[in-house]
Amino acid sequence: MAIAEWRQQLKLGEVSARELTDQHLERIAAVDPKLHAYLDVTADRARADADRIDAARTKGDDLPPLAGAPLAIKDNLCTKGIRTSCSSRMLENFVPPYESTVTERLWQAGAVLLGKTNLDEFAMGSSTETSAFGATSNPWDLSRVPGGSSGGSAAAVAAGECIAALGSDTGGSIRQPASFCGVVGLKPTYGRVSRWGLVAFASSLDQVGPFTTSVADAAEILQVIAGHDPRDSTCLNAPVPDYCASLDTPLDGLRVGLIRECFDQEGLDPQVKASVLAAANQLESLGAELVEVSCPRFNDGIATYYVIAPSEASANLARYDGVKYGYRAEGAESLATMTAGSRAEGFGSEVQRRILIGTYALSAGYVDAYYKKAQQVRTLIRRDFDSGFKSVDVMLTPTSPTTAFEAGTHADDPLAMYLADLLTIPANLAGLPAISLPCGFDDAGLPIGVQLITNVLEESRLLQVANQYELAANVMASKPSGSLIP
């Protein structure tokens, strides 16, 4: 059910917030044992919140925009009084004494928290397999991964376990799982949404965004969570436009750039390529002009990212030392062994690998060759986009080179796993808003995602193009049946 539709039904009293919440809690009870999208389900709180909304409606109060909308939240967003584990042994028992800005805004807008969703440990991964508390499955095919790192949120939305969900995207962690799970995933402009309360992975890349079943819903959620926050110095103090206002504007005269380097990828699945090109053609039929653009440094994104993100992570995760909170190793004889033991036991291998990479890249003697060089390349990638946006309004690429892969495929090959983010990373490096939405299915019945990218703070245009495509293509009308797809 779309948020706008739900709002109408609630207003007319056709469905109560409590009924909607209960329906979703029942759905979770029915499917989540197989899916494992949720780490914690906050059923009591959800019912209480829903009851409050119903009471307010009965009283005749004005209802806030997301009143009664049952949502799931990625478990790296701090929720006051509710465990926030980052799917890590390290924070298994961490209960934040504060609320993240994004979730605070959602609750103020009347949304109902259903629970916290699974992720790759500290959002490091592309399959949700590095979670310390077990992997999440893909609702289209339980033997496959949902993508990552926000795999829990993507799977929950796809399986109808919530109306919408929040994720975070550092190198594709919203868009890639959205693509794998056949839902809409939006990564806003860096700084459009506050990071206060988002447990940091790579601070200069992390951004919170929604998973939804429609572009219009993504606009609804973004409307609530976007905007300046004095608690985050990197949060932009720019006015928040009405994201729903331009959704219906036709695409006449729109220039869509197909990034040549993306379509030349060796590892690009031909079915994915064909489906995404068909999406481009659909845009053309809607009045857009297709233009080929070149971002010569696009494919350097992955190497750049795997220096910058681990470098920042190595510092961001240094605080987990067993001293103040979080996991502490037993029986340590000294401070050094306590710290080392807590980190060795508290972090999984992928997190440790990235801390090691980042520590190395920042070390004296290597910092110029790695970290500083990567920052230079990052600037070049940004410039590629800058020059590209002189001739086009929006760029189009596949979201992922492949559809959802079998669980365990890349378990022993981190580099192969890293390539899953090849096409999503450049938007993070350049700080640009990007969205993934379903554009078709492969022979195995798995969803394919198309990625659209615009210039900074042009979320309105991004949502407009995505919405026009979504309405015209009506991809979900011809969806194959999936294991747990409603």
Binding site: Y98, A200, E312, Y325, A364
Partner: protein, 516 residues
Amino acid sequence: MDPYDLSFHRIMSKSVDRRSVMAASASSGQGTWEPVIGLETHVQLGTNSKIFTSASTTFGDDPNIHIDPVVCGLPGTLPVLNQKVLEYAVKAGMALNLQIAEHSKFDRKQYFYPDLPKNYQISQFDEPIAEEGWIDVEVAEKGKDTYTKRIGIERLHMEEDAGKLVHAGSDRLAGSTHSLVDYNRAGVALAEIVSKPDLRTGREAAEYASEIRRIMRYLGVSDGNMQEGSLRCDVNISVRQGPDEPFGTKVEIKNMNSFSAIQKACEYEIQRQIKAYETGEPVVQETRLWDEGKQITKSMRSKEGSSDYRYFPDPDLGPIEVNEERREGWRAELPELPGAKRHRYAEEFGLSVYDARVLTDERSMAEYFEAAVAAGAEAKGVANWIQGDIAAYVNANRLGYSELPLRPEQLAEMVKLIDGGKISGKIAKEILPELLEKGGSPKAIVDERGLGMISDPAAITTIVEELLAAHPDEVEAFRGGKTKLQGFFVGQLMKKTGGKADPKLANQILSQKLKG
């Protein structure tokens, strides 16, 4: 300390005062050694809240009272720069004649230690807020000529303070059973000020540190309390066999909590290093602690190869921008600084170097002095009264000059009464305790109690004549050559007039009458 250490001794002072170098050179059996000293000063900036969060900076409360999720580095928290800290740092930089950077940034300095909640310190690495400046330091030492020396300042940067470890069962980590951590101090704003290696004696080092403290207190950006740790100095020190020789091995000294400790630690360390070189002992690059009890420096840890702090720009904090308008706005708020005041007091008021130094030591004292002078009193007289009875009263009662009941205008009135011959210094001294305690108009007190000076020659002549008549023997002795007896008559005269006779006039009339 940090990577600047490595380059520290490569930066040679451009303006070393030769005279002071020669004067400062330490002699020994085999020749002349030149000490080379540089200071790293950490000044706690006196903002009410911490550098990146609104937690209080109050000192001395129970442990872990002034903390919040940002201070503790809880996951998902973010730092936001306290703009007052930036203002204080820029003002401090301008007062030290540093160039203020239009663009600077924060970096993360990474090392694991439990007093550092995030296991990195937010500091400034290669783009500090202020660079390249100097201060003029007046070096005064008993038995030596006072001289002024310009000391170069490399940089000033902002950073956050760490918490404090309390080791149980021992005052050191070694031997303790367990350690407790108090994060009250964590996140308090610091300005780190790095001098150039321009200092040559322990006294110069102490005077430099003292001038830094004085400037910070004048600016109101720090209380500079060394006991409470709001001003902390680390000394880098080496010796070499002459100004053209390469630098010797550098040693860092910590743990001095007074200026005299800085001086003594330097002096001890200079001699220790010279002796080591002369007896063929190695001088190793290390950190030493000043032991106040034993008055020696002790090795704490060797510092072979510096730590790798893996600095990189903090992605949580944007660039720091200080445009011209903002900078000049802050500059306009700077008070006259102690160096300028010292200069002006000598030039404008003709005060001695010593008087100027004492009066300008504290801004409140200087302002009190200036207010009294502005009220029309003679500077020298005001200076004497302030440095004497008033300072004694203020110190004894732990008062600030702003809370002293005797207002500067009232002091000026008293000084004018003396200079105008209305009362004697003796009377002034008598009424001062009451004025200091309650304030009030000295003139009113003098009038009310009839304490005004007798300056009518006729009246004094009458009294003198009476005196001479009453002491014929003494008059005869005087006239017989015992001229010292004039003092006896002055004493009698003052006794008789209750100290109110104009001393100059009295002496004059007395001399005349005694001669017969």
